[in-house]
């Protein structure tokens, strides 16, 4: 027993390739030794957490008391004090400019003005962000978040690797992942691969996205 410790750690540390991770997850269902060891690992980690739990709960109660006591003493400040005319005009101008700057930096995707995929990419990311907000995290939502983060940081190779994993493992997000992967390929200059990936969206169930893809394919 315990021969799988490194493998379980490798999986949890995200050091496995998507294929390796998938094989590992399947193996747990068929290999009783591995299934036992995963339970053993769970108990060990739970025990580690438990060993500090009593001290932590006592500490947390103490911190909560400090927090509630200091809240009552926290000074307050008016957000709308009386301002001069010039300051009010400056604030009005800022009120117009700041949202524009915010939008510019929020959507680094829109940098490539000649990219016909960019507009739908922004919509897909917005849709994902809005729909996953407040949800309990799952490996799938986390993986798509990571992929989008890599994309936003212009690390398209890493984004493509994550999209591939989603395409293989999660039918619900496959259409989105295919489209975003196509955009990443396009940004890397791999237009033929981008086109071929985009065509695969047409085999998915997302009708709205399929309509967008047909429009984009005409422009590629």
């Amino acid at each position: 027993m315990t021969k799988y410790t490194e493998i379980i750690d490798k999986y949890l540390d995200g050091e496995m390739s998507p294929q390796e991770a998938l094989t590992f997850e399947q193996q747990i269902k068929t290999d009783p030794d591995l299934a036992y060891e995963v339970r053993l690992h769970q108990l060990a980690i739970a025990g580690v957490q438990h060993s500090e739990e009593a001290r932590f709960q006592e500490f947390k109660t103490r911190m909560k008391t400090i927090e509630s006591e200091t809240k009552d003493e926290t000074p307050v400040v008016r957000l709308n004090p009386k301002r001069s005319g010039a300051v009010r005009w400056a604030m009005r101008i800022a009120a117009v400019l700041v949202p524009l700057l915010f939008l510019y930096f929020l959507f680094p995707f829109s940098g490539n003005k000649n990219n016909p995929l960019a507009a739908t990419t922004i919509q897909l990311v917005e849709l994902h962000t809005t729909s996953s907000r407040g949800d309990a995290p799952s490996p799938q939502t986390t993986l798509l978040d990571e992929a989008i983060q890599s994309f936003q940081q212009k690390d398209y190779q890493a984004a493509i690797a994550s999209f591939d994993q989603i395409i293989k493992t999660n039918p619900d997000q496959r259409a989105t992942a295919l489209y975003l992967k196509a955009d990443a390929l396009y940004r890397l200059g791999k237009k033929t691969e981008a086109r071929n990936t985009l065509k695969k969206v047409l085999n998915e169930d997302d009708d709205a996205l399929k309509t967008k893809v047909r429009e984009v394919l005409d422009k590629l």
Binding site: M1, Q42, I45, G47, Q49, H50, F59, I66, Q149
Partner: protein, 202 residues
């Protein structure tokens, strides 16, 4: 409309207060850190944890920071280093929480409120593991296990903190985990709990 003001972090003062022998001084130091809670957690929630989990992580990070400051594992070098250090602890805890959820989901267990793994086992079972950690595996192993699997520190960070090579820590970490698991496996009651769980998943 009104809003709370957030005083700037006076890091040297916070460290001095936390190191104080007087409880009232320590509490002042904690109050100064708690006042920064929203600032310190902002943009840290990469795994979209709920507010309750995130708040627990903040207090756990504070708990770890306190221990590290008291035993002089944190050395103040320049302005901003306490804040950066605290961020590292929060990040480690958030990543750890995510790993525990993945580990629970590997066996099809849906994480309930609080710790994703502790809810799978009885209090008695967890106490028996605690006893192994406290009495059987040795202080060095306990330290490495706690840093990696409780604090969520990376091997490189543990190596830097303990002044050892990354390779040594990597070997120690998995070696000590194997040792802990072997002790659990030798405990017939714990073994039975695991087998029961395999036969009757929750």
């Amino acid at each position: 409309m009104t809003a709370s003001t957030t005083p700037k972090m006076d890091e040297q003062r916070i460290i001095r207060l936390l190191k104080s022998d007087k409880q009232s001084e320590q509490e002042k130091g904690f109050a100064m850190l708690i006042a920064q809670k929203n600032n310190l957690l902002r943009n840290q929630n990469t795994y979209h944890l709920n507010n309750q989990d995130l708040e627990d992580i903040f207090y756990e990070a504070l708990f770890i920071l306190q221990d590290k400051i008291i035993i002089n594992q944190f050395e103040y070098r320049k302005k901003g280093s306490l804040e950066a250090y605290f961020y590292t602890i929060i990040k480690g805890k958030i990543s750890n929480q995510s790993k525990k959820k993945r580990l629970a989901e590997l066996t099809g267990d849906r994480a309930s409120e609080g710790d994703p793994l502790m809810s799978l086992f009885s209090y008695e079972a967890l106490e028996r593991v605690k006893e192994i950690l406290d009495k059987k595996i040795g202080e060095d192993c306990r330290t490495v296990i706690m840093k990696h699997y409780y604090e969520g520190m990376k091997h490189k960070e543990i190596a830097e903190e303990l002044g050892l090579s990354v390779g040594t820590i990597k070997n120690n970490s998995s070696g000590c985990m194997k040792k802990l698991k072997n002790f659990i496996n030798q405990d017939e009651q714990l073994k039975k709990i695991i087998i029961d769980l395999l036969n009757n998943p929750s």
